[in-house]
């Protein structure tokens, strides 16, 4: 009850203060759909590859998104973007496989942010370990002068953590990693660390989790939304 009240209040304030029209629309979508079942809501699974894990000093390199509409993942609307960075990808190339030369034709950060928020005007963000991705997005929003705003989304890691903790209070290290989670739902293992593949992997995981939790028709957005 408290969460509902708080979310409504928070979203109304965000709508009021937000200067970016697309972002305003996004908050409005969340607010009007808070009590809708997930099957009626459009979702956008995303994953971001970065030069490191510190949102204060590291930069985003690539982003992949894939929508879930009518409870089905839609590969035809999947998109992938590379972002211009300052300096070099450095050692992070080992993880995401993107080299400095791949970024030669990358888009400026502002352009990607604009594209992304245009995408989620009528969608809810979903990510695995959403905290990290949303923090990076929030950081770049504020550094591009658009003020710092809270971003809300569905986090498959938090969902998994809550589900697993009900079974065993102490979780093993690594048991919440994307592939470890997927294995529990009989989902195939993909080669990780491509932003688009990970976005797909996250979308599939969410569908699996929600099906296990009683079905997409029986869970509302407010039950899943977490703030970062």
């Amino acid at each position: 009850m408290f969460k509902q009240w708080w979310l409504q209040y928070k979203l109304k304030r965000l709508i009021k203060n937000s200067k970016l029209a697309a972002l305003k629309a996004h908050y409005q979508y969340l607010l009007t759909h808070l009590h809708q079942p997930i099957s009626d809501i459009k979702l956008l699974a995303l994953d971001i590859e970065m030069t490191g894990l510190n949102h204060k000093k590291d930069q985003m390199v690539s982003i992949g998104v894939i929508p879930i509409i009518n409870a089905e993942i839609q590969p035809q609307f999947a998109q992938y973007k590379l972002m211009k960075i300052e300096g070099s990808v450095g050692q992070s190339a080992v993880i995401h496989g993107i080299l400095d030369k791949d970024l030669a034709n990358a888009l400026p950060l502002e352009e990607v942010l604009q594209w992304l928020f245009e995408q989620c005007k009528d969608k809810v963000l979903v990510a695995h370990h959403a905290q990290l991705d949303l923090q990076f997005l929030r950081q770049s929003l504020s550094s591009s002068g658009a003020h710092s705003f809270a971003l809300l989304g569905i986090d498959t890691l938090i969902i998994e953590k809550e589900r697993e903790q009900r079974k065993h209070p102490v979780l093993k290290t690594g048991s919440l990693r994307l592939n470890a989670c997927r294995e529990r739902y009989n989902l195939p293992i993909y080669n990780a660390h491509n932003a688009l593949t990970d976005a797909l992997a996250c979308a599939e995981l969410l569908l699996a989790q929600l099906n296990k939790m009683g079905g997409l028709d029986n869970i509302t957005l407010v039950q899943l939304l977490t703030k970062r």
Binding site: P75, A78, N186, N191, N194, L207
Partner: protein, 614 residues
């Protein structure tokens, strides 16, 4: 690379039959068009919208397709499909999809599915419900591969013909001018004879006749001919059996070419005949054992030349026949001529001419009359010698002791007739179960009229004999083909899972059983399953669609058996009919499943027609 490609989906689809036959662009289009859903056991059933059919591709998990009444139709796992029957037929989906294990499923919209079928023949063929058509197409593809072994490719197409009213002088001039050893004689484009060098020598010159005679007086009328699309081996066999060197190739009455022994030798593909020739030249058991050690190599070569299974069966059986004959002749050289007429019979696979690797021997003797002690001893020595020699040549003793050396199966014609009528007139299903192979009999050596007399009296008793046919049907329906494959298991019709499948007993043997019932009911004297089916069709004693589907299914399963045996041979494993699902590609799994379905349906027809069970 387009950055928005979803590599994991593309990687999966690329390996999946029939998508694997699509061009790269087509696969990408599919991956773009599909949507992904997850189904959990808690939901029990996959919600299927009958107004919007789509193809369901299982990415993970397991599902079961049943009828509304709950009868199991299929069980599918990763890389298998459901929902396509509605797409193909346009009928409303009534089957239910039960979720056995949670999993991810790709949905391919009907529009994309139809587009792929329209653009790709192999895609369409794969999903086409008319499995007969699908297997048939598969058959024609194989044909092309083995073209080199067929006579169409070595026969002379530049056919020189002459009419019967020409003089032999004109014929000789033509032959000499064109450097030919023979001429085909035609009457209004139809073949009416052949004139060869040998005819001119033996029938004209040697007799002092002159060149004014007409071709029609000298030629061989109605010569032995051959169809265009047969294996070279069969052309060789025909030449050697008839002691001739020229075979007109005739297609629907019209000569289309000629083939000579020289053409065949030149084609270098005479291995089976060479082997038979070698067998006929050997004068000792030791030498015959040595020659028969080449049979596995022959089989292996035939498999790798991708000959049809039915032809391989015929070739291997011809080798066994020659070996048997040669062994009898050699023993008779020792024992002296037989004291009476007799016929050496072969039953089972040798009888049906569909022997493959590891076949055991099933044989017997028909004797002209009762034997004295001395005569009995003659046949004892002969049969024991031949049976044990066959054993040493790689045809193991029959475990059921159905062998010529068993006194129980050295019977006079009359005793055989009594034996058969005890099976036919008072059929006991259990006794009949072991007797079915006797109904696939063929004479190998000796007085074939004994066999023919026996066979026609047997068929007279079986034809239209409802009680006997019902007993036979009851036996044949005791074993059923599997339903299909699920992961690394074979699923039986009752839903149980087994590790592997015996393609002989759960496949070809079931078809042989079905076809035998039809043939005995109709009094048809062929014993080879294909020939029985052809004869049944010609006499309209079987539904043509069923017969064609059974022919295709028989060939397809037998072919897989042979390929499996070829692999076992290569890996130095014991050769068997046993196949593990893991060794099959997804396409072959689908096709085998269709072949099993054909058998299942034909068994249903037998139940209806001969057991009157509805």
């Amino acid at each position: 690379m387009d950055n928005s490609e979803l590599q994991p989906i593309i990687d999966f689809m690329r390996k999946l039959a029939p998508f694997d036959s699509l061009p790269e662009q087509g696969i990408k289009q599919c991956c773009q068009a599909l949507t992904i859903a997850y189904y959990s056991k808690q939901q029990k059933l996959v919600p299927v919208d009958s107004n919007a059919p789509q193809l369901y591709i299982v990415r993970s998990g397991a599902f079961e397709v049943t009828t509304e009444q709950g009868d199991l139709i299929d069980r599918v796992g990763e890389g298998q499909y459901f929902g396509f029957s509605g797409l193909l037929s346009g009928e409303k989906v009534v089957n239910q999809i039960h979720i056995l294990e949670d999993g991810l499923v790709y949905h391919l919209p009907a529009k994309m599915f139809d587009e792929l079928r329209a653009n790709s023949q192999s895609f369409d063929r794969f999903f086409n419900q008319a499995f007969a058509k699908r297997l048939r197409n598969q058959g024609t593809l194989q044909h092309d591969n083995i073209s080199t072994a067929r006579i169409t490719h070595i026969m002379s197409r530049d056919l020189t013909t002459i009419t019967a009213d020409a003089s032999i002088h004109q014929a000789a001039l033509l032959m000499s001018k064109k450097r030919l050893s023979s001429l085909v004689v035609v009457d209004q484009e139809k073949l009416c004879g052949i004139l060869t060098d040998r005819d001119l020598r033996n029938r004209v010159l040697a007799k002092g006749l002159n060149g004014d005679l007409l071709v029609g007086q000298i030629m061989t009328k109605d010569p032995v001919i051959i169809e265009p699309n047969v294996l070279m081996f069969e052309a060789m066999l025909k030449m050697s059996e008839n002691n001739i060197h020229h075979l007109p190739v005739v297609h629907v009455g019209r000569p289309v070419g000629i083939i000579t022994s020289t053409d065949l030798i030149r084609s270098q593909s005479s291995q089976p005949l060479l082997l038979i020739g070698q067998i006929e030249r050997q004068n000792s058991l030791e030498a015959l054992i040595k020659v028969s050690q080449k049979i596995p190599d022959l089989l292996h070569n035939l498999i790798s030349s991708d000959a049809k299974a039915i032809e391989i069966g015929r070739i291997l059986t011809s080798v066994t026949d020659s070996l048997t004959r040669r062994l009898i002749v050699l023993k008779q050289e020792q024992l002296g001529p037989a004291p009476m007429g007799f016929c050496w019979l072969a039953f089972g696979s040798q009888g049906r001419q569909d022997q493959m690797a590891g076949s055991d021997q099933d044989n017997a003797l028909i004797l002209e009359r009762d034997t004295t002690a001395a005569e009995k001893d003659y046949f004892k020595q002969l049969s024991e010698s031949v049976c044990s020699a066959l054993n040493e040549c790689g045809f193991p003793f029959c475990p059921g002791n159905i062998m010529a050396q068993n006194p129980q199966w050295q019977l006079t014609l009359q005793q055989w007739q009594q034996q058969f009528s005890s099976w036919v007139k008072t059929p006991q299903p259990s006794a009949l179960l072991n007797a079915t192979i006797f109904f696939d009999m063929r004479g190998i050596f000796g007085d074939l009229t004994l066999l023919n007399t026996l066979q026609s009296s047997v068929l007279k008793n079986t034809k239209g004999n409802d009680i006997f046919i019902a007993a036979l049907s009851k036996n044949a329906l005791q074993s059923t083909p599997p339903l299909g494959f699920f992961r690394s298991f074979v699923i039986e019709r009752d839903g149980s899972e087994v590790k592997g499948i015996d393609l002989k007993h759960k496949g070809n043997a079931l078809i042989n059983d079905i076809v035998r019932i039809y043939a005995l009911a109709a009094g048809i004297n062929e014993v080879n399953t294909t020939k029985r089916l052809e004869s049944l069709m010609a006499k309209s004693k079987i539904d043509k669609d069923i017969a064609m589907s059974l022919l295709d299914a028989w060939e397809f399963i037998a072919h897989k058996r042979l390929i499996n045996q070829g692999q076992q041979f290569n890996n130095n494993e014991p050769v068997s009919n046993y196949i593990l699902p893991d060794s099959l590609s997804s396409l072959v799994r689908h096709q085998l499943k269709d072949a099993f379905k054909v058998i299942h349906e034909a068994q249903g027809t037998v139940r209806l027609k001969f057991l009157r069970q509805f």
